[in-house]
């Protein structure tokens, strides 16, 4: 009996090995003739176009990846692409599985490949070098090889500042919770932008910042939010990938500010607003240019004027006067009069973080490691 089952398992393994190896067709040789370095890219017939994207999370996460997927879906619809012309790969980690996924997309014949996580940067750069005829477009990093690899991101901190206004006007305990993933420049600059927005309308309010050490952990994110509520916060804002902090606020009967996408449907009684991404414009524009053969390796940094970042519609939970205050600030931002990180700004240890008359540029923001004066790190 024992021997027989051993043979059975061996046979199963062999059969499955055969089956799986069948999937690994060798890559088609790159089409000869076009040399993007000198001639730019050839136009692609719309029927022949294949668009690939690798996602760090699930397209249904109601967060970061969801916002990208909504953009892809809208692009697909407005350009009239077939379902099988857009190939998506979800839950791709920032390790060698990223390279594997990129190779699969190359083998599937994609002419343009997107990636939505910081850690894909170096893998995409390498692949771009290996396949100069394919366009690689990477979200949230900074690299660009001047040939077929560019970068795209946006000024989400502007929208965060506006969401801070909504929170600052709403809070009654003057304590606002902020569930952040990590203490890294992206999260810290976001929290600071939010805190400065709060301070612009409510100088007495404090922001209690806590860190979960994960982008995505429903249980921990919710526990973190509950701990902030237990400390007396009556608003919860978040820089996380699930809607759990919103749900924690709703269950406690207080209010919340979402992130990435409009989370009103997930926590209708709590949600005030959310800084949101709308990638539709960038994806549609980029894929259009790929079809026309006019794509160029230029980095893209969208803002509120472009519509890449925005504030989701204010719900009826917001305090009176929020709409006017937000609109005034937004108009100033779009006109270029209001900059989030314009001095003087003190940090939470009393030092001058930004001198009077100075405005931080993107590089400063991308390396920010100080917390604004009204943030209490938990």
């Amino acid at each position: 009996m024992k021997k027989m089952s051993k043979w059975l398992i061996l046979a199963l393994v062999l059969v499955s090995a055969l089956v799986f190896s069948g999937c690994n067709q060798p890559a088609p040789a790159p089409a000869p003739g076009s040399d993007p370095e000198t001639e730019g890219f050839q136009p692609v017939a719309k029927e022949d176009l294949k668009v690939g994207i690798i996602y760090i999370g699930s397209a249904t996460d109601k967060g970061w990846t969801y916002s990208h997927d909504q953009g892809m879906l809208a692009m697909q619809e407005s350009l009239g692409l077939e379902e099988n012309q857009v190939i998506k790969k979800e839950f791709i980690d920032e390790d060698s599985s990223c390279e594997t996924a990129l190779r699969e997309l190359v083998e599937a014949g994609c002419q343009v490949i997107f990636g939505n996580s910081w850690g894909y940067m170096d893998y995409m750069e390498e692949m771009a070098e290996e396949y100069p005829e394919i366009i690689f477009s990477h979200c949230s990093g900074y690299k660009n090889n001047g040939i077929n690899f560019n970068n795209y991101f946006g000024a989400i901190n502007d929208a965060r500042y506006l969401s801070g206004i909504a929170a600052g006007l709403k809070t009654e305990t003057n304590k606002i919770g902020y569930v952040g993933a990590y203490k890294n420049p992206e999260v810290i600059s976001g929290a600071n932008a939010f805190a400065l927005g709060v301070a612009s309308v409510n100088p007495d309010a404090e922001i209690l910042f806590t860190e979960t050490q994960t982008w995505f952990d429903p249980d921990l994110e919710k526990s973190a939010a509950i701990s902030l509520l237990d400390k007396g916060c009556d608003i919860i804002a978040q820089h996380q990938d699930t809607t759990m902090p919103q749900i924690a606020a709703q269950e406690r009967g207080v209010f919340s500010v979402g992130y990435h996408v409009d989370m009103a449907e997930d926590a209708p009684q709590a949600h005030l607003t959310a800084p949101v991404w709308d990638w539709t414009g960038y994806y549609t524009d980029t894929v259009e240019k790929v079809i026309e053969g006019t794509w160029e390796p230029i980095n893209y940094f969208g803002d509120m004027a472009d519509g890449l970042v925005d504030l989701s519609p204010l719900t009826e939970n917001v305090a009176e006067g929020t709409e006017e205050a937000v609109k005034a600030a937004k108009d100033q931002m779009v006109a270029g009069e209001l900059k989030v990180f314009a001095g003087p700004i003190l940090d939470n240890e009393g030092n001058v973080a930004v001198e009077e008359g100075l405005v931080l540029d993107r590089e400063d923001v991308d390396s920010m490691m100080w917390f604004a004066f009204n943030i209490l790190v938990q």
Binding site: K2, S58, T60, Q213, F216, D266
Partner: protein
Amino acid sequence: MDLNYLISFIYAVIVAGTPLLLATLGEIITQKAGNLNLGVEGMMYIGVASGFAVAYYTKNPIFFILAAILSGALAAFLYALLTVTLKANQTVTGLALSIFGTGFANFVGETITNTSPTRTAVLDGKLMSYFKPINIPLLSDLPILGRLLFQYNIFVYLAVLIALVTGYFLFNDIRGLNLRAVGENAAAADASGIDVFKYKYLAICFGGALSGLAGAYISVITAGGTWTANSVSGLGWISVALVIFAGWNPYKAIFGSAIFGALRVLRFYLPRQSFNLPNSLYGALPFLVTALVIIFTSIFNSKEIQQPAGCGVNYDREER
């Protein structure tokens, strides 16, 4: 630090520990039957997804709980079929079950959310109201005790009750004794007339059912009735560690789950001014503590706190 804050902390600890307790109790019974089922994470996922799907379409709380329990038990039945009858390697089968469960849950969740235009799936409000913190007139309103004892969701009370019942069963019931005999030495148990295969199958399925129930907890309590991909995110593995920490004892598992729950939320409640430990340390604490328990029990060579001797070894009658 005021009293209310302390009570809030304890409350958070209990809420965080309950899914761990449920899954751990199931795994204790499974291991007591001599089977190491590393599929806890997967069975929890299967419970999450099946429970959610049934609750989403039927809006019935009873069907919801039943679906979560039965799907967990069914997954465990497959594990039992492979390991008890077909004698496949227990570790590998359990790991495969974990991987399968994760994928299954995301597949089910995605199928449901894809049917909604906003890709959000939220459970019916009336169904959710059954799983709110309970409210017993008078008792729940007591000043301190009310919040400490009488304001949890029903799963918390159910989990403690199951722990007490399984503890009694294992240590005070003849069938519990039989089960332990099966786990320690299946051949001897078989020789004494115990139906080894029946005990193994039932224990493993019971373990799966409790994992499924833990999944139900995650669906409606942790995730608050909103579909969330990857919602178990490692709780199953912590439960496996908790089995060792609790020394395969359901009574100790109650306190063990509270300690592990505390380790999970401690980082958010400790005042940063006095305990400025790196946050990444806290995620490792449950496993660190478990490692310490293993070291200590092996140093003192405790006879009581040991994994059942037959755990991990398949019983083959013909090789007796």
